[in-house]
C-alpha cells in the first residue's frame, strides 16, 4: 500500500467528482453558486461527521449500522433533558452527547467482549436505540428551542455555515489520526490482519472500543447539529442515515473487508454523493430518483474495485 497506490482510487474519485461538478454546473446555472454550494455543505455535515468515524470502523473490518439510531436517540434525549427534566440547555446538550457516546461504547463492548460480529451487534442496537428513542418520546416532538441554539445548525462564521467549520475541523483531526498516528496504524493493521496485529503488540480490543465509542460521539454531535438545523426533535431523526454514511465511505475507496481506506476518499465520496443529489434535483430529477443513482453508484464502485483487485491478482 504505497502512497501512490493508496491514492489511486482517490485520484479517480477526484476526477470523477470534478467531472460531475462540471456536468451538473452546465445543466443548471443555479448549481455553481456560492450560496448553493454552502447550502449543500450544510446539508452534508451530519452525514459527514458520522462518515469520518465510520471510515475508522470499516477500516478495522467492522461496520456500525446503529449510527442513525444513536442520532435519533441523542436528539430525543436532548429534548427530554431540556424540556422534561428542566436541565439548562447547554447541560442537556452535554448530557445527550454523553449518552450517545455511551451508546457507541456499548456497541464496542458487545463486539470486543462477546465477539459478536459487528453487523449483528449493531443491527440489534439499531433496533434497540431507535426503540428507546420511540419509547421515551412516544412520538411527541420537542420544539421551542431558544434562538441561540439555532446557531449550531443555521448560524454562520465568516460567511460559512457553522457546521461546515465543525466538519472541517473534525475532518482534519480524523485525517491526522488515521493517517499519521500510531492509533491510525493500529486501525489499518487490525483491519488487514487482526491476528498479526495482536502478535505485534497492538491493543486490538482497546482500539476497537475507542473507534465504536467515537462513532457514538460523532453521531451524537451530528444529532445536536441536526436538531438545531431543523429546530425540532423527533424520534425518527436519522432513520436510514447508516445507508448514506456507508455509501459515502465505501464509495470513497474504503474496503468493506477492512485494511484500506482514507479520510480524503471518504470526503470525496460524500461530496460526489451530495453533488449528485443536488445536481439531479436541480435539473429536474425528482427527489427520490437520486437515491436510485446512489444505490447504483455504490454497487458499481464496489464492483469496479473488486474487478480491479482481481486483475491485480490480489
Amino acid at each position: 500500500m504505497t502512497a501512490t497506490k493508496l491514492l489511486r482510487h482517490e485520484t479517480i474519485l477526484a476526477v470523477l467528482t470534478v467531472i460531475a461538478l462540471a456536468v451538473l454546473a452546465s445543466l443548471s446555472d443555479k448549481f455553481f453558486t456560492v450560496e448553493n454550494l454552502l447550502n449543500q455543505g450544510r446539508l452534508m455535515s451530519e452525514v459527514g461527521l458520522v462518515a469520518l468515524a465510520m471510515t475508522f470502523v470499516i477500516v478495522t473490518g467492522g461496520i456500525d449500522l446503529s449510527v442513525g439510531s444513536i442520532l435519533g436517540l441523542t436528539a430525543i434525549l436532548l429534548g427530554v433533558f431540556w424540556k422534561n427534566l428542566g436541565l439548562p440547555l447547554p447541560l442537556a446538550m452535554l448530557a445527550a452527547i454523553a449518552c450517545g457516546t455511551f451508546a457507541g461504547w456499548v456497541n464496542g463492548f458487545i463486539i470486543t467482549r462477546f465477539r459478536v460480529p459487528p453487523l449483528i451487534a449493531t443491527l440489534a442496537t439499531l433496533a434497540l436505540y431507535r426503540g428507546l428513542a420511540e419509547g421515551i418520546s412516544e412520538a411527541r416532538s420537542v420544539r421551542g428551542y431558544p434562538e441561540w441554539f439555532f446557531f449550531f445548525g443555521q448560524g454562520e462564521v465568516l460567511g460559512v455555515p457553522f457546521q461546515l467549520w465543525l466538519l472541517g475541523l473534525a475532518t482534519v483531526i480524523a485525517a491526522v489520526i488515521l493517517g499519521l498516528t500510531p492509533f491510525g496504524r493500529a486501525t489499518y493493521a487490525i483491519g488487514a490482519n487482526e491476528t498479526a496485529a495482536r502478535f505485534s503488540g497492538i491493543r486490538v480490543n482497546a482500539t476497537k472500543l475507542w473507534i465504536y465509542t467515537a462513532a457514538g460521539f460523532l453521531s451524537a454531535l451530528a444529532a445536536v447539529v441536526f436538531v438545531s438545523r431543523v429546530t425540532t426533535t423527533r424520534s425518527d431523526m436519522g432513520t436510514g442515515l447508516e445507508l448514506d454514511v456507508i455509501t459515502g465511505v465505501v464509495l470513497g475507496g474504503t474496503s468493506i473487508f477492512g485494511g484500506r481506506g482514507t479520510i480524503i476518499g471518504t470526503v470525496l465520496g460524500l461530496i460526489l454523493i451530495q453533488a449528485l443529489k443536488n445536481g439531479l434535483s436541480l435539473s429536474g430529477v425528482k427527489g427520490d430518483g437520486t437515491i436510485v443513482v446512489i444505490g447504483l453508484v455504490l454497487i458499481g464502485a464496489i464492483l469496479a474495485g473488486a474487478l480491479f483487485d482481481r486483475n491485480r491478482g490480489g
Binding site: M1, T2, A3, V176, L180, T181, P182, G184, R185, A186, Y188, A189, A192, N193, T195, A196, A197, R198, F199, S200, G201, I202, R203, G259, R260, G314
Partner: protein, 520 residues
C-alpha cells in the same frame, strides 16, 4: 469406484498383475514457482495394507498426498488406478476413483448431525427423490458400529464432539463413499492418548477389510505398530520403500535425516551468560503443564517436540497471548505478570510466530509498515508517527538482514518466504529485545535463505541475545541449539546438552514417551 477414467485414460489389459493396485504413482514430479518439491517419485498401494509415508517437513509428503487426492496435478509422471492411467482434475475425480482423505483440519459441518455429516453430498433417497433420513440413520449406525464406534450418537451435532470423534466421522464418511484408498494425514497429531489407541484399532479394522491406507505420521511407535511397508522421502526424492520388518527405528531416522548435520550449521560458541528468563512450574490450562526452564544470555535453547506437544503453546504463554494460569515467569530474576503481547514486548521479549502469513505479517502492507508495527511508540515525534524514521528503520532492516526487495515501500506479499521471514525478524529486532523466541524459524524457506537465517541467529546469540528456538526439524534443533529441551504432552520430558543431543536420542524421546503415556 468404477475406476471411471477421465479423458485420456487408456486401457491396460486386465489380468495384468498391476491392475489390482488401487493406486499407483509412477515417476511423479511436481514444481511450485519453479522449485521442484517432488522429484520423480514412484509409490504404490496394495489392497489391505498400511503404507507409512515418512519424511521431515518439506520432504514432499504433503505434496504427494495432495496429488493422490486430486488437489494438485503432477507435472510429470502418471497415476494409475486398477492399472488404468487416470488424471485427477479435482478432488471429485479422486473420490470417484475410490480415494478418500481424512483431512488434518477435518472438513465437517459443526451444526449438522453425525449421520448427515457422514452422508452429505450422497444422501440415500426415497422413491420420491427426497432424502431418506431413516435409511441414512440406519446406514450411519451400521458404519459406525463397524468402526467399533457404537458409542457415537448419530443424531448429535458434530459441534459438540471431540476431535477424536470427529475424525471417526470423517473415516465413516470415507467408507460411505466406498473408498478403497484412505489417506490419513498426521491423524494422531491432535489426539489424546486414549483416542490414539482407538484410532489404531480402527486403522487395523479397515486394513482387514481390504482398504489401502496411506499413513502419514512422525510417530515411530505408531509406524511400527501399524505399517506393513514404509516409504521415506527426503528433499522431494524417494529414499527407500521397505517392509517394516526390514527396518528399525534408527535406520528410519537416518534415512529421513540423511545428510551430515554439522557442516550445514554455523559453529557453536561456548556460553555461560546469566539467566535472563526463567519459568517456574508454568501452566496454561491443560496444554502447558508445569514447565520449568532457564534461558541464558547468548544461548540458543532448542525446544523440540512434535506438533501439539505444547512447544508453541509454551511460547504463546511466555509472550502473553495466552497468559499463564499458574506458575511464575521471571525476567532477570524478577517475577513478572505477562498479560499481553505489549507487556511482553515492553519486557524485551520478541516472538517470531510459526505462521508467518497469518500471525507474523500483514501481507497487504509494505515492508516499512510491517517493520514499524511493533515499535510505533518509539518511532514517534510528538503525537505523530515519524515517517522519515519509519523509512530509515525499514531501510536499515533491509541492508542489515539482506532483504531482497525493491525498497521499503514494496508490499510484503510480493516477497519470497525467506525475505518475508527477515521482515518479521526486522520488525522484532527493531524493538531491541533481549529474549528472542523463534517458532519454526525456517519453515517453508529455501535452503539458501535458511543458512542466512541460521547465521544471523548465531550472530545475535554471539552479541548476547537469549534465543529460544522451536523447531520440528530435528537437524535444525541439533545443529543450532546449545541445549535441547524435549516436550511431549505439554511437559518437558528431556534435556540434552550439545554433546549428548543426537538425532537418535532426541528423536526417540520426542516420539516414544508420548505413546507410552509416560508423559503423565
Amino acid at each position: 469406484m468404477t475406476g471411471k477414467g477421465t479423458p485420456g485414460a487408456h486401457d491396460v489389459p486386465s489380468g495384468n498383475a498391476a491392475s489390482s493396485l488401487p493406486i499407483e504413482l509412477r515417476s511423479v514430479s511436481k514444481s511450485f514457482a519453479g522449485i521442484r518439491v517432488v522429484h520423480s517419485v514412484s509409490f504404490d498401494m496394495h489392497p489391505g495394507e498400511v503404507h507409512a509415508l515418512m519424511g521431515e517437513n518439506g520432504a514432499g509428503k504433503s505434496t504427494m498426498i495432495k496429488i493422490m487426492a486430486g488437489l494438485h496435478q503432477a507435472d510429470e509422471g502418471e497415476i494409475l488406478v486398477n492399472g488404468r492411467v487416470v488424471k485427477f482434475a479435482s478432488p471429485k475425480d479422486a473420490h470417484a476413483a475410490g480415494i478418500a482423505t481424512v483431512h488434518q483440519e477435518l472438513l465437517l459441518f459443526p451444526e449438522l448431525t453425525v449421520a448427515e455429516n457422514i452422508f452429505l453430498g450422497q444422501t440415500p433417497k426415497t422413491r420420491l427423490g427426497t432424502i431418506d433420513w431413516q435409511k441414512m440413520r440406519e446406514r450411519s449406525r451400521q458404519l459406525l458400529d463397524s468402526l467399533d464406534s457404537g458409542d457415537l450418537d448419530i443424531d448429535q451435532k458434530v459441534a459438540t464432539l471431540s476431535v477424536g470423534n470427529r475424525q471417526r466421522i470423517e473415516i465413516a464418511r470415507a467408507l460411505a463413499q466406498d473408498a478403497r484408498v484412505l489417506i490419513m494425514d498426521e491423524p494422531t497429531a491432535a489426539l489424546a492418548e486414549a483416542d490414539v489407541q482407538r484410532l489404531m484399532a480402527i486403522v487395523r479394522n479397515l486394513r482387514d477389510r481390504g482398504v489401502a491406507i496411506v499413513y502419514v505420521s512422525h510417530r515411530m511407535p505408531e509406524i511400527f505398530a501399524l505399517a506393513d511397508r514404509v516409504t521415506v522421502l527426503r528433499d522431494g526424492h524417494h529414499v527407500a520403500t521397505k517392509n517394516i520388518s526390514d527396518v528399525d527405528e534408527p535406520a528410519l531416522v537416518s534415512m529421513m535425516v540423511g545428510r551430515a548435520i554439522d557442516r550445514l550449521y554455523p559453529a557453536k560458541q561456548g556460553t555461560d551468560g546469566d539467566v535472563i528468563l526463567e519459568l517456574k512450574d508454568v501452566s496454561y490450562r491443560s496444554v502447558v503443564r508445569g514447565i520449568s526452564l532457564k534461558l541464558k544470555r547468548g544461548e540458543i535453547l532448542g525446544l523440540a517436540g512434535l506438533v501439539g506437544s505444547g512447544r508453541t503453546e509454551t511460547a504463546l504463554t511466555i509472550f502473553g497471548i495466552t497468559p499463564a494460569t499458574s506458575g511464575e515467569i521471571l525476567i532477570d530474576g524478577k517475577a513478572q505478570a505477562i498479560a499481553s503481547p505489549e507487556a511482553a514486548r515492553d519486557l524485551g521479549i520478541a516472538y517470531i510466530p510459526e505462521d508467518r502469513g497469518s500471525q507474523g505479517l500483514i501481507r497487504m502492507q509494505t515492508i516499512e509498515e510491517n517493520v514499524a508495527l511493533a515499535n510505533l511508540k518509539r518511532l514517534m515525534r510528538g503525537f505523530l508517527v515519524d515517517a522519515a524514521r519509519v523509512t530509515a528503520e525499514a531501510k536499515n532492516a533491509i541492508t542489515k538482514f539482506g532483504i531482497r526487495a525493491r525498497g521499503p515501500e514494496q508490499l510484503v506479499r510480493q516477497l519470497s518466504g525467506g525475505n518475508q521471514q527477515k521482515v518479521v525478524l526486522g520488525k522484532w529486532l527493531a524493538t531491541n529485545p533481549r529474549i528472542l523466541i523463534m517458532d519454526e524459524p525456517t519453515r517453508g524457506i529455501d535452503v539458501g535463505a535458511k543458512a542466512e537465517i541460521h547465521l544471523l541467529m548465531r550472530k545475535l546469540a554471539g552479541e548476547g541475545m537469549a534465543i529460544l528456538m522451536i523447531s520440528s526439524e530435528l537437524p535444525e534443533v541439533l545443529g543450532m541449539s546449545d541445549r535441547v529441551l524435549v516436550m511431549n504432552g505439554g511437559r518437558i520430558v528431556g534435556e540434552f546438552d550439545k554433546e549428548h543431543a543426537t538425532a537418535e536420542a532426541v528423536g526417540t524421546i520426542m516420539t516414544r514417551t508420548f505413546t507410552n503415556g509416560e508423559a503423565a
